[in-house]
């Protein structure tokens, strides 16, 4: 199994970097255009959350993204060592946001759940958060 790990500063411009890397990784699996966009969007949401909520935009910190694939099942782990999530159930609720002043829509987890096969959140307040995104690609 080919696994890659990208560690990036928690900086807004790296959100697009994470999308480019995940797109390059899954390209050999020949995903549909729709699957590719779904995965890129979910990764974008998870990395954005880590930067804004995990670290409060402190770009000295880092976000790690690990990607692996078993046949046509792609697994992406996005980890920060930031503040953690106090209440995961609330965070998963559509339109829930702790940062309305930043025009955050509160849809990050809703989008991830809509676009991926499975989404898992492991978080410990004060220690950080890992979001696991799993996508089963259709047969080609």
């Amino acid at each position: 199994m080919n696994k890659i790990k990208l560690e990036m500063n928690a900086s807004p411009e790296n959100v697009s970097m994470a999308r480019v890397v995940v797109a390059a990784y899954i390209a050999p699996l020949d995903p549909s255009v729709e699957e590719l966009m779904e995965i890129k969007t979910a990764v974008s949401e998870a990395v954005t959350n880590a930067i804004i909520h995990g670290y409060g935009e402190n770009s000295v910190e880092t976000v790690a993204m690990e990607i692996s694939a078993e046949e046509r099942v792609v697994t992406i782990n996005i980890t920060d060592r930031g503040v953690g999530i106090e209440n995961i159930e609330s965070a998963r609720e559509p339109l829930f946001t702790t940062k309305p002043e930043m025009e955050r829509s509160g849809l990050g987890f809703t989008v991830m759940e809509e676009f991926m096969t499975k989404v898992e959140i492991e978080s410990h307040p004060g220690e950080g958060t890992t979001v696991t995104l799993v996508k089963e690609l259709g047969e080609r």
Binding site: S16, M37, I51, S105, G108, E114
Partner: protein
């Protein structure tokens, strides 16, 4: 691939048209928001049209940006219309519930006809 967004802004009658290009994510949404708001404040426009034809990617940061501009137009009794959305972007619209309050149309021309400006 274009990573840096540019936004073309034009005014016709009471309609401010903003056509962002590139990727509408967290990094770019802030810049686009500032550009639109600054032009809107200086103008006497009531309505805002966001033309998405040159947007290659959008996530929920873009939804947040659109909701914010909807509120701006509302303060002047105007409407916000979005044109030329891709299929994936349309799904984000459905998930967010934005489709209930924001009008989506196929082309900028249709939007302008609706809002009473000219393309």
């Amino acid at each position: 691939m274009k990573l840096q967004s540019e936004t073309k802004i034009s005014v016709s009658g009471r309609v401010l048209t903003a056509a962002p290009s590139g990727e509408l994510d967290y990094h770019q949404a802030e810049r686009i928001r500032t550009q639109i708001d600054s032009a809107f404040e200086k103008s006497s426009c009531r309505h805002i049209l966001i033309n998405m034809s040159n947007v290659s990617f959008m996530d929920s940061s873009g939804i947040g940006m659109i909701i914010g501009r909807y509120k701006k137009a509302e303060t002047r009794g105007g409407r916000l219309v979005v044109s030329n959305m891709s299929d994936v972007t349309s799904r984000l619209f459905e998930i967010s519930g934005l489709s209930k309050i924001v009008t989506r149309v196929d082309s900028a021309k249709t939007a302008m006809d609706m809002l009473g400006g000219t393309t």
